[in-house]
Structures are given as structure tokens and as C-alpha cells.
Symmetry: C3
Subunit: 176 residues, 3 copies
């Protein structure tokens, strides 16, 4: 496989697209545009190399089914933004970072070692037949409800911003 150079135009286009998607979904890119574009170069290089945008700050295996959790945005982004104010790469950051009320600090690796990754599946819900109906085993994630618009999502914590009505995190309540 030969690598073709990545033009500045491609980087700029990917930057605009990533930024729009982030804003639409209630996410925020790191305000340092040059820093972000460097990460985008890594993403585009990985896309050429592997066929998917593996996280530029982690070592990809090259096997998509093994790397699926670190295709950007990774499965760990939202928990890292919640706890550390930024994802592992600091590509996505919290409002406190863009506001300047918090500084970006190193984010420890949340991805479990490969031998333990399979066990994530065991968090999956188990349905149990009860008296002709179906009852659910413990849910793998709590379900949160936006009190403003009724949006539902299943995550460890509610999102920073409701992707539907843009209400802030404190407007969410536990639903299930």
C-alpha cells in the first residue's frame, strides 16, 4: 500500500466537518485549531493505512473488529470529557475548557487491556421471562431523560448538553 500525501485542503475540509458534527451533537473541539488539525492529519493517515479513522494517540492493531472501540470518536470520549474535561487526545473538550475555567491536563488511558475487553459484553442486558412477559436483568447503563425535551440516552453519566434541545447536564434525570 502506498501512502498519498494529505493535502491541507483535505485537512481543512475534515476540520470543518468535524466541527459541525461536534456542535450539532452538543460536543466541542479543542479551541486550539492547529492542535486539532495535527490530530486530523493522524486520523486521515490512519484512514489511508487501515481503512478507518483509528485514534491517532493510540496504537491501532489494523484489525477493525479489534479497534472498533478506538475508532474516533472512541467509546471512551464521553466518560473522559466528563471526568477529565477532555478525551484521551484532547481533540474533544468540555465547556469548562473552552470557557477557560479549566485547563487541559493529561488523561489516563481508560481503555481496558485487551484481555478484559471482551467482558464489556457481559454488561449487556439479560432478558428474563416472567409470567409470560419479559423483565430485564440489570441494565448495562442507566437511562437518562432530559427534563426539557424528553430525550433519552443510556450512558454512565448524562451528556454535558442535550443534543436535541441543548439544555445543560443538570436538566437530566435518571429514567431507568
Amino acid at each position: 500500500m502506498t501512502f498519498t500525501g494529505i493535502s491541507e485542503q483535505e485537512v481543512d475540509r475534515a476540520y470543518d466537518s468535524l466541527k459541525n458534527d461536534a456542535l450539532d451533537g452538543g460536543y466541542r473541539l479543542n479551541p486550539d485549531a492547529e492542535f486539532v488539525k495535527n490530530l486530523i492529519r493522524g486520523l486521515l493517515k490512519n484512514e489511508q493505512r487501515y481503512g478507518y479513522r483509528a485514534c491517532p494517540c493510540r496504537l491501532a492493531s489494523g484489525k477493525m473488529e479489534v479497534d472498533l472501540d478506538i475508532v474516533c470518536p472512541c467509546d471512551y470520549r464521553d466518560s473522559d470529557i466528563e471526568e477529565y474535561g477532555a478525551c484521551y487526545c484532547a481533540l474533544y473538550v468540555s465547556e469548562a475548557i473552552t470557557d477557560g475555567t479549566r485547563k487541559v491536563a493529561p488523561v489516563p488511558e481508560r481503555r481496558p487491556p485487551r484481555s478484559q475487553r471482551g467482558t464489556m459484553k457481559e454488561r449487556a442486558v439479560q432478558t428474563v421471562a416472567v409470567g409470560g412477559g419479559t423483565t430485564f436483568g440489570s441494565l448495562p447503563f442507566p437511562v437518562w431523560r432530559c427534563k426539557v425535551c424528553g430525550y433519552l440516552c443510556a450512558r454512565d453519566q448524562p451528556p454535558g448538553i442535550c443534543p436535541v434541545c441543548k439544555a445543560k447536564k443538570d436538566r437530566f434525570e435518571r429514567f431507568l
Copy 2:
């Protein structure tokens, strides 16, 4: 605390941002732009005064945890649009209002008196252990499903427009 004046530029910026968020989420601002900008001045003044955008048509306490339900958009907006065609301030309105097929009329206060507000939490779902699984007590809100795209939300009534695929209210069905 001193109040700084609110510039027309700030009002215009807030107006554009509110309008975009409204359209993205399937909501509509009052078509009278001057009326809306006046409400926005109230919102921005409250933000300076309290640190959050309390409803400009209600008396805020100044304690965020007490006022959380009336931070704009308030917890009552969607039910008021549903029943009266507009929120309490008439900042957000129904399609019938923007179409001109319905007129804005006074909206009675839906917010419960303070002594009764705590009881809202008692609507929250209670999980009950049944035979090793989990079953749910009565859900605090029905869950609606968009028949076009599968979007789920928990509200008294389905939304006027699906925020994901823009299908209208009559395409929703009760899911849970």
C-alpha cells in the same frame, strides 16, 4: 455586583444561536423577531444577575437549584406548546402559530407552587427485583417512538416534530 449594558450585538448573536438551536431540535421561535429580542434581553440580564438564564416572565429566586425548572427553555415549554400553542413567554410557539392558523393567547402558569414541586420526584421510576431480574414500577412518563426513524423520547405527549428525521407528531406511537 454591577450590571454592564447588554449590546445589540450580543442580543443579535443570542437570537441567531437560539433560532438555530430551535430549528435543529424541531422547535420554532415566535415569528415576531423584536418580541423575541426583548425576551432575550431579559434572559441575558438574568444571566448577568444570577449566573443562569432564568425565564424572563417569572420571578426567579436567585438560587439555581430552586430555579432549575425555569431556566430557559423551561421544563414546561413542551407541554405548553402542546396545549396552548406557545410557551409561557410565547418565546417558543407551535407550527400552527407560525403558519398563522392559530393566534398566540395567554398561557396559564403550569409550574406547580413551590411546596408541591418536590413531589415531581415521586413520579420517578421505581425498580423492583423480580425473580432475579429487574422489573420497572410505573414509568414516570410514557416513551414515544418515531415510526419513521425509531427515535425514542419520554414525555407526556410526542413532540410536534421528530428532532432526528423531522417527521410530524402523528408519526409517533407509544412504545413503553
Copy 3:
């Protein structure tokens, strides 16, 4: 009822609106803009004739309650995009079509005959009282969860793109 002509300006406006809504929700219009505009002419004509945008490739009855499932976007769009790469009209297509890695092919009619349409409702969930709580009968659709952002939706298959965070289909897991 008299039909007024549909101006090119109206067609263009409807095209822009449809395209924006599609992109926002993770959908894609057929890349052939002239083909799409022809379908839009049919939609606008149906809107004049019946008062709603019935599918331009099917025979509408003129009774909204009977045609609700074929108001565009129809209830069958997502399953057809999933299975055939395009909706019945080929107005909406899959990424593989816009990429050019798959060609548009005829899509068989998925809409059940009228006599069987009522039975769809029998798929609806039935709640069963169990030991003071509520348990659910079999869910009419599986609930899928985006592993990146926690978005939940109830459909036969997960969507091609998460409407909230734009993660691809393979990032969804069965939740309920």
C-alpha cells in the same frame, strides 16, 4: 380544488430543506439532483392535492389516516435503505450508493397490503403487572444503543449513522 403551478423556486427551496434535514439526521439524498427534484415536484403536487406529502411513487388514497405510513419519509424508508441501499423511490440512499460502491437497483414494495396493515399494531408492547411492578411483554422493536454517545432508538436494525454523534452503524449494540 384547483392546482396552482409549482415554481422552480419552490422546488429548489424544498430541495435545500430536504437535503439539510437529511444530513442533520444522518440520511443522504440521491446524488442525482435532477432526479430528486422530480420526486419533489410529485411531493409538492400531492401536498396541494391531499394536504400532505404522500409518496410520489405510490397511489395515495387521499385519506390521511390511511396514507400516514406513506407520507414521505415513509415508515419503510429505513428498512429499505438497510436492505436495498435506497428507499422505494430512491429519494434516500445509503452511503454505499453515494460512494459509488453500490448501484441503485429496483426496490420491491415493502408496504403490506391494506388488509394486513392493521396487524402492525399488534406488535405493540403489552405491559403486564407483576408483583406490584410493571414488566413488559415482548418489545415490538429492539432498542439499539450507540456505544459512542448513548443514543437510543427502536428499529429493526441500527441506523447507518448515529444522528447525534455521527458514529457508524457498527458502533451500535443491542440494549433491550
